[in-house]
């Protein structure tokens, strides 16, 4: 029987020392059911380097205080650290201005913020919002809620059997009624990298703003919001090697300034009386209440870490892993990949003949291999491919070729136990 061992591993680039990188992630030393952990659920959440864990810990141990309040030393320090993280995100995304970076809980909240604030103001009865067939529920449901409230229509651009957007069909949906295009940058379930530059150009030719769901993309490729010229970009810290509960909404300043507040409370006001409240300027206008300060500082540390490795190093390595794993899985009889786009990130969604992903996942788990099984919060996408669910291995730069071999062995075990 063919195994991954028959495959030739690409010579890993000297700039990328995988053994050293793995040292930075304490959890990778864990054993699961007595086997070394093989963590292939990075699209759900990535692991955190020690520097991120320590940054959060340091804040609570020695720096804890609220931000934007008080004149005491710790509050000033916390405010500086919080705003420094905003600067890191600004440079990470190459935004023009730090005011364009809004801290939120995650991508889901970022999209809800835009749907609720920008959407409610700009989408009216008869208008349309355009998404694609490969969206995560978080980039479907907020728009459905908005459309239902306004009597607007949600239009869905179709994809082909490889899981690629059918661009011509997408373009046909852009009309004088379209108020916003909201598209995933990299599909969490398929790994497809969307042609976002073309999407944005096509939409902008018709003066339609574009929101990109960057939950997956921000961790795997260099995002430059000015080069893309996207109007909104969203990301989650925890998929970017940072803490959970912190995410980012980037928005062009002129759009954010014209948008009504999303939530009311402290920090988002400049003055309050019972007769009249004046809202603060951006970004504070959209950051009501005490924010996730420790998480924000942790996100800043995660960005420092990614910058130190560099996308120019991690992206080619992840691509080598993807090609190796794709070839290895293709050699196993009865395994079928779902999502075979030409432009693809290191996500391998697959189904096995006669076997349900949940059973596959349980057997792999006993081998110490963490994969996601299910519909990946993309039920319409599963329907498109006629499967109830898939097994998904999503890779990160700290994964190794040996771990891919372990997955192949695990799949052989699945066949042995369930076959």
């Amino acid at each position: 029987m063919a195994t991954a061992h028959d495959l030739v591993r690409p010579a890993t680039r000297s700039a990328f020392d995988i053994a050293r990188v793995r040292e930075d992630f304490p959890i990778l030393k864990e054993k699961i059911h007595g086997k070394p952990l093989v963590y292939f659920d990075n699209a759900a959440t990535s692991q955190k380097p020690r520097s991120v864990i320590e940054a959060e810990q340091r804040f609570y141990l020695t720096e804890c205080s609220n931000v934007h309040r008080g004149v005491h030393y710790l509050s000033e320090q916390a405010t500086q650290a919080y705003e420094a993280a905003r600067g890191k995100v600004q440079r990470f995304l190459n935004a023009r201005d730090a005011r364009e970076i809004i801290f939120v809980r995650g991508t889901t909240e970022a999209i809800n913020l835009v749907a609720s604030s920008y959407g409610r103001k700009n989408v009216q009865a008869g208008d349309e919002v355009v998404i694609t067939a490969m969206e995560h529920h978080s980039n479907i449901v907020p728009w459905q809620i908005l459309c239902e409230e306004k009597g607007a229509k949600l239009r869905v651009a179709p994809i082909n059997d490889d899981g690629e957007l059918i661009f011509e069909e997408f373009e046909k949906l852009l009309t004088s009624r379209t108020r916003l295009v909201a598209v995933v940058h990299i599909s969490n379930a398929l790994g497809t990298i969307n042609p976002v530059q073309r999407i944005i150009e096509a939409a902008h030719r018709r003066n339609i703003p574009v929101l990109l769901d960057g939950a997956q993309a921000a961790a795997h490729l260099k995002v430059d919001v000015r080069e893309l010229d996207c109007d909104f970009y969203t990301l989650s810290g925890h998929k970017l090697y940072g803490p959970t509960g912190i995410g980012v909404l980037y928005g062009k300043a002129r759009l954010l300034e014209a948008m009504p507040p999303y939530q009311g409370g402290g920090d988002m006001i400049s003055s309050v009386s019972f007769e009249k409240t004046t809202y603060n300027v951006i970004p504070a206008k959209f950051e009501a209440g005490t924010p996730n300060i420790a998480g924000t500082i942790g996100l800043g540390a995660a960005i420092d870490y990614v910058n130190q490795i560099g996308f120019e190093n991690l992206a080619p390595y992840e691509h080598e892993l993807l090609e190796y794993a794709t070839e290895a899985l293709a050699r196993i009889p009865g395994v079928r990949l779902i999502g075979t786009a030409k432009e693809k990130a290191a996500v391998l969604s697959f189904v096995m003949d006669g076997l349900h992903p949940h059973d596959v996942g349980t057997v792999l788990d006993q081998e110490g291999i963490a994969v996601r099984t299910g519909h990946h919060c993309a039920q319409p996408l599963m329907d498109r491919f006629g499967v109830p669910a898939t097994t998904r291995a999503s890779l990160a730069f700290y994964n190794s070729f040996e771990e891919v071999d372990a997955l192949v062995k695990g799949i052989q075990k699945v066949k042995e136990i369930l076959g």
Partner: protein, 150 residues
């Protein structure tokens, strides 16, 4: 691998590959649907009542090995039983897969259903085993709502 073999016993694998009573039932007196939003599994259960007895029972839908085998073995177990007996089976089965009672402690009325005792070691899979039983409960109690495991 003893754990996995406890979960995926031969009887379970056999029933998952060739489930019994997987068919629609036009003359059903009760039907109910079950849904597991976690994995997207859906099951429709058909029950034909003869007074207080379950004269016939069948299901449609596909899911993982555990849920398919559970549906298949449910239909075999409750056919011919009274409503009270079926309810007692549900309770006994639930206690077994959630680990409240062990394989040896479980009541003899469970019969073949005891092959599911290994499920209790896999908390993430308990819902796979119990979904169809909750669906039966709903059908027998004439609840119109789709049962979900959440």
């Amino acid at each position: 691998m003893s754990d996995l073999r406890d979960l995926y016993q031969e009887v379970i694998l056999d029933h998952s590959k060739g489930p019994h009573n997987r068919r629609p039932m036009a003359e059903a007196s009760r039907t109910a649907q079950g849904f597991n939003p976690l994995c997207g599994d859906k099951v429709t259960l058909y029950v034909k009542l003869d007074g207080d007895r379950i004269a016939d029972v069948s299901f449609e839908g596909s899911g993982c090995a555990i849920s398919t085998a559970s549906a298949s073995l449910l239909t075999e177990s409750v056919k011919g039983k009274s409503l009270a007996e079926a309810d007692a089976l549900f309770q006994g089965f639930h206690d077994l897969v959630t680990g409240k009672v062990s394989h040896d402690e479980a009541g003899d009325n469970l019969g073949k259903l005891k092959v599911f005792s290994g499920v209790s070691e896999f908390p993430m899979r308990v819902k796979c085993a119990t979904l169809v039983w909750h669906t039966l409960h709903s059908a027998l109690n004439e609840s119109q709502q789709t049962v979900t495991t959440e």
